[in-house]
Amino acid sequence: MVVSPNTNQSKRPSRLLPLVLYVTIALVVLPVVVVASSLLTPSTVVWRHLAQTILPMLLGNTALLLLGVSAGTLVIGTGLAWLITAFDFPGRRQFRWMLVLPMAIPAYVMGFIYMALFDFAGPFHTFVRFTWGQDAYFPQIRSGWGAILVMTLTLYPYVYLLAKAGFEEQAGSNFEAAKALGSSKLRAFFTIALPLARPSIAAGVALAAMESLADFATVRYFNFPTVADGILRVWHGMMDLGAASELAGLLALFSLFLLLIEHRNRGRMKYYQSRGKLPGIPVVKLGGWTAVLATLCCALTLFAAFGLPLLQLLVWAVREFAILTPAVMATYWRLAVNSLTLASLAGGLVVLLALIVASLSRLSGRRTLQNLSRLVTIGYAIPGAVIAVGILLPLAFLDHSLNIMTSELWGFAPGLLFTGSLVGLMYAYIVRFMAIAYSSVDASMEKITPNTVLAARALGANARRVLFDVQLPLIMPGVLAGAVLVFVDVMKELPITVMMRPMGYDTLAVWVWQMAAESLWTSTALPALIIVLVGLVPIKILLDASSAGDKKHIG
């Protein structure tokens, strides 16, 4: 029997609920459909040209990037999460939260910093040439592996965070049982802990993979053209927006395919688990060289992904300080206010919509609706520039129709209400970042089992008390995490902001992009540092909240 917690609440099934849900899903999917609909009228000539020239390279590079970033984030993210969960070693408590910090550095900033450091003219290669001669071997950073390295270093925190949560919420008893039966700790990890955390880890890797598919700025620094880069090549270079949309439509279909795999994987692994007050996986104290090794693993990752880039930014910032004028200072201040406004608005809005979609689809109790609602995550794998096009065109049409209507009726034209304001921008952010908020909110809702609700109802709680006393506290961490992740991502966001912001509404990221495009690295430093630092605050709050939650669990 399917138990829907609300069936006895209302006399007749609500029609409004599914309607709100359908409209929300439709609005989020619309831009993707606009773009993908170009596939119905394929530009055969362009496709023939692409197939004979750059398409094989684009596909090969994309596959390589996808594999490399998935494998890299999987190994680093899961490995570090396991280290932090199951072992004690010097610095563990600090590393536990610090390992998330690289998330605050935008991949494109990391890209030009790594380029500045490891390129032929950079300090490291110069040192090697100076010491071992002009022809001494040094790996070529401007390559596929450079792009994979940089993207892995900025994206592994997604996997780390989710894997850590997956490990931490496991009851230790299974693990202990396996060990009691003679399994080594390593074997117990692979046979018990890893499979149990698999849904979380898969979700993290899927996020990282989709992010790498959508990236176009970083791959360009490393001269490693992927399909996302190809979209811009066709649009900007061959001036064929139609063919570019077709390429983007194929990318969307592919990411839909990825989503399905991840979903099937999760579906098969479906289980309701919450260890509640049971003890977690036992922590083993490391000593001697194993402790040193563990500390070193964490420290090196953190240095490569956060310390080194931060150091380079600081060096540039010091140079910038020497020539800083009050006018430039005022500009930075204005940019920071704009960035914060956009990020907060988007964080709130996206998580709210995610909450609506996730809860309404669950409340409906219909399997198809729940599956349908997962469509809202599709925007994450589509390059921001493409989403912007998919929104700009229909919204501009709406704007023009509205203006024609008002001038016919009342003789006045309000101008561009949608494309000329923050509405278009927010809409694009929603489409692009819904996946992050949705998976976060949805995962926390997964923890609310039908039993929890039934138990509460059986104990006499009414629907409102169930919502406020049982459900909300359980999903709050997920809601908060979703909002924070979107906030940080919007702070870093580039292509959508560049294309859809109102006149003169510049952000820190836009400034960094402009200066980087002109190779004025010192001028990127302060705004980039502000992006990183502002991103750190909510990340810290989030981590404190989650560890406070843990303590409550244990205590």
């Binding site: 609920l17 709100v20 001269n223 811009l232 270079g237 101008g415 560049v498 003169g504 402009q514």
Partner: protein
Amino acid sequence: MNKKHLFAGLAVLLVIVLFGVGVFVGRANNRDVAAGQVINIYTSRHYGVEPVFQEFTKQTGIEVRFTTGSDAALRLRLQAEGKHTPADMYIAVDAGNLWLAGQDGLLAEVQSTILQNNIPANLRDTNNRWFGLTRRVRTIMYHPDRVSPEQLSTIEALTDPKWKGRLIMRPSTHSYTQSLVSSLIAAHGNAGAEAIVRGFVANETILIDSDTRILEALAAGQGDVAITNHYYLGRLLEGNPNFPIKVFWANQGERGAHVNISGAGITAHARNRANAIKLLEWLSGPNGQELFAGSNHEFPANPKVAAHPIIAAFGEFKTDPLNIGEYGRLQKDAVELLNRAGYR
């Protein structure tokens, strides 16, 4: 009304309120669009624009607001916004994009004797929809320790196998490369240009997506010759007068060096058209030229204005007389040619 309705209603209300906030914040930012004493600009040129516009505001009291972006995206936005666009002026960093904007009907004709007098005919649109304001020369750069100027002659000659592994250029994604190839198509036809580009590929040309980085790599010894815009060397010399790289004016014995422009046009639906024309005329005059071209070490489009001393020291040279609108017309061909030749 039951609770589910209440919940859904509240959510919808909240979305509407947030929508209102979005419209308000965005439009408050645009509040003085209609006020008259303002010019709104879409620009893909984002270096040194602020000081120039500040000076203009100081002299005229007209406020200048601008939105930066990439060329194609700004054009798409102009097109989508149609007659409601807030933009009065479009500034681009190459002739190809201006030509395309003119072609798409995004720019309006401007009849101004000041502009006619200040800007030479080959640096502006034949229909006066856009005007070149600065000239940038894409030419050969070399390290004097490893290359002597006698070894250099034309862009085409860099396909000689003796430059194998020694040449640095910019990837095909950049409009600078595309315009250069367009000029090769104009000079040699499609097949001739393709043979030249294939020569670059066969020479295992190193591709770096930043002219500054190219010059730094050249100085560090990653290559011996390169093709970049002249002003990037000017910028590096400004910071370090001993920067070792030297400029070589290419193709002097024949058609002349490849020159491009940074320029502007008035949008077809400009609401502050008079102000925008005033700015355009000011930019073409001595004061504007000095600031606009000089701050970026570019050559003024106005022949009566002297170049910045650092680039004046690069010496006299002859430029390709080709009408620069051709770069726009040939851009698609150039990109397809680059793809066919395997130039990344």
